[in-house]
Subunit: 220 residues, 2 copies
Amino acid sequence: MQSFTEENYLKIIYHLAELTNNVQTNSIAEKMQTKPASVTDMIKKLADKGFVDYIKYQGVTLTEKGRNAAIDIVRKHRLWEVFLVNKLNFKWDEVHDVAEELEHIKSVDLIERLDEFLGFPKSDPHGDPIPDKNGRFAKNHFTKLIELKIGDSGTITGVSQHSSAFLKHLEKLGLTLGKQIQINDVTDFDGSVEILVADKQINISREVAKHILISNNGKN
Amino acid sequence: MQSFTEENYLKIIYHLAELTNNVQTNSIAEKMQTKPASVTDMIKKLADKGFVDYIKYQGVTLTEKGRNAAIDIVRKHRLWEVFLVNKLNFKWDEVHDVAEELEHIKSVDLIERLDEFLGFPKSDPHGDPIPDKNGRFAKNHFTKLIELKIGDSGTITGVSQHSSAFLKHLEKLGLTLGKQIQINDVTDFDGSVEILVADKQINISREVAKHILISNNGKN
DNA sequence: AATAATTTTTAGATTTACCTAAAAATAAAA
DNA sequence: TTTTATTTTTAGGTAAATCTAAAAATTATT
Ligand SMILES: [Mn+2]
Ligand SMILES: [Mn+2]
Ligand SMILES: [Mn+2]
Ligand SMILES: [Mn+2]
């Protein structure tokens, strides 16, 4: 059984490993909002417990056991987010912090019943896939909106930024999950993108376009 | 903001204070499954923070602030128990341990929305009253089944023992909340009680009868 | 009132998760 | 290939919550 803190480390290592196989001490420290020295301490402990493989100065990788533990926490986090949005009427920008706490509740039974209660959802309110009880899930294969060309179209199916500020902004622009969009123009000056959504033409900044994920996109 | 541990101390002191106004160090230690020396340490801290009044060797009493904090935790615990039983189909004997964890999730918004989602329940699966968001609740005024006389009748509206073993036993006997019962006889030999429930005559031990709470009882 | 039993507190340690400052290793630049 | 910069680790320490053993206070019993 892992502590609250160990679970947070595992989850963060897991997410960082999605970007780079070998995860650096400093990246973990940044995400954990702690100091590199503390991370080294914890890494040693996680290695002792068999959750990570660790070579001094070479960063860490999750073991099978570590990855499973991490995926289990991700599963809980996302299921709770679905619960908060679908059952308790939270907005998608309000759920992350509460889910950060709920994900640590230890009861296999609880999470399986919750999954059932929610109708075995496949993705969370931000479009992220929810692992099943065996840890399996389809890896999303989205294109960033910023990478689309003029004339391309598709459906908003995810976001790669979960901050409340960003999500509220999208909401205001009407850019929510499931919405159909089309690229009309890309501004030379600042890289902002003109898109068509719900029959309206709007302009979004490059920064915003970077974090919107599109699927099912018909290239021009 | 209180820590997980502080919250548990406050809740336990609150429950003990329902029995005796001045709560002893040893009773707290027993309930917390810790040592008296640890309790003394924590009591000092809680006193510093203004949650309890404390005089050396004289035990503790909750301050207004401490009582409010404790009631808030009790409210969360009981609401989560209702959720687990009514929405996730847990049995009444399976919910306590999970609720012990869930009660520490810190989000006022969450618990108010949960309350609403559940339809503002007035009591939990064990018949215990649920404080409203202002901490107000009707204090139950039940009679222990053991105190009834032959011929008395009433409705099972609570239990004063929450162990899984006890609750499972009641379930098997058909002695669940809302059931109508009548006292038919009390055995001289062992103090066991003959009761009528759902047209069936059953015998329950003195120990069981002590922990069943009856309301609305028509005396003979 | 004196003695014994119980309860409670202090003293001193331990464990977990942190921290700062300095040393060591690795990577990048000159 | 040195030198410099960055990353990572070690060393030593702190705060929270716990523990054991022993001392002190309170309560109960003779
Ligand atoms: Mn989230
Ligand atoms: Mn999410
Ligand atoms: Mn309970
Ligand atoms: Mn209960």
